[in-house]
Amino acid sequence: MRNMTLYVHLENGSPVHRMDPLTKMFYVFTSVVISYMLPTHLLVSIVLAVSILMLIIGKVFRSILPIIGVSFVLLASILVVQGFFHPDRATVLWDIGPFTLYKEGFSIAFLILLRVLNMVCAFGVLILTTKPDELVEALVQKGLSHRFGYVLLSVLQIIPQMMALTGKIMDAQRARGLEMEGSLWVRVKSFIPLLGPVVLRSLAETRERSIALEVRGFNSTGKRTRLHELPQYPYGTVAKTLLTSLLLFVIVWRIWL
């Protein structure tokens, strides 16, 4: 199970990869907020198209597909439930057996669909083109507590290690006669013998890890330094100004105009 990593980031040196992680984070925020404020299919489609364009420039478009796949049930459910059962039902669009698809419901469903897709794609821009440690490093240098930064990075390192344990635990319990296949009750009963060792082990390990951190000066109160200089990111100010004005414009337009 070695060499397993949790994060999805792919390195290829595209212009999107070279952008400031914080700018990308701000992009995600702006894109999602705007998509929920804009009222028409066309405008939301444009926002989505921008996110997709970013993915294409970042050469990671293909990697977004499995991530969309994870949200497939949610997307399908929105379409079915709103399309067939939305309370505003007037115009029949389509008859499928005993069910009727209505135009009003479908229209709403389609709009939500675009927004959710944009949410996934916009986040995709961030998570597929940014190294998590680079993002956390940038956040810490902008004032996020180093202790919290530690927590975020440590999750990414530790979960793969914990996952590597599961095989060993299953072997150890099967060697003691634990059955994991069969009726629902048999499977339910085997849950705690499987999860229990992971919990106990990882909690007991937190004690040793705390010691390891203490002896490396984790709690020292003096000023800290960082080994890596933050790289100079191009177009940071321009991008941020652009995004801010866009956001302000949409807010003003939707609320006062």
Partner: protein, 202 residues
């Protein structure tokens, strides 16, 4: 020596409490992994959150909840960012109620699970309505939602019902499992998060 506030709302987290966060998020992941492996008809993806609240209080529990969803959003499904608030509230409520004694026996733990489920559903409902007009992506819950809206019930009620049928049983099972594991924890682990310890002189 620095003053350290102790008790339920202690803000200056000990190293042990901080290191607990990644472990607890890991437990959430592994719990989910085993559920899928054993093909159990449940979600049960917040055992670590609940356990950490029982051990280290509501604030750590809430942090575990947030970190869990942020990391899950980062690695598997961005949609999970939306529910970071729900996860935080699960940690918060469990931590407070556990501190007030609602994990002293199995009956109380079930009540705790019920309350956590109900509150989780309450927090999720406005999120579900504003982000996707009320559905949750759970087949059974959404079927109920569809039926209720078709019957002419208000959107918020249908959406709440959608969340409740999913969250309440799920959180009751989660809290029950966490309680069973919590009961078996060694003193060595329990004392680590006890912020009230002082050095005694011999």
């Amino acid at each position: 020596m620095k003053m350290v506030r102790t008790g339920l709302w202690s803000f200056r987290f000990s190293t042990a409490a901080l290191v607990l966060i990644p472990a607890a998020v890991g437990i959430n992941y592994i719990g989910k992994l085993f559920v899928e492996l054993l093909k159990l008809p449940l979600w049960v993806d917040s055992i670590g959150t609940v356990l950490s609240s029982m051990l280290a209080g509501p604030l750590i529990g809430a942090l575990v909840g947030i970190v869990n969803n942020v990391i899950y959003g980062f690695t598997t499904s961005p949609v999970s960012f939306v529910y970071a608030i729900t996860s935080a509230v699960i940690g918060l409520v469990t931590g407070i109620m556990a501190y007030k004694g609602w994990i002293s026996n199995i009956g109380k733990a079930l009540v705790l699970g019920f309350v956590v489920g109900l509150i989780a559903a309450t927090v999720s409902t406005p999120l579900n309505i504003s982000f996707w007009e009320g559905t949750t992506g759970n087949v059974w819950g959404d079927a109920l939602f569809a039926w209720m809206t078709a019957q002419g019930n208000p959107l918020w009620l249908a959406s709440f019902a959608d969340s409740v049928v999913v969250d309440v049983p799920d959180k009751m099972v989660t809290v029950l499992i966490s309680f069973l594991i919590f009961r078996n924890l060694p003193k060595k682990v329990l004392t680590m998060y006890d912020t009230k310890q002082e050095i005694e002189r011999l």
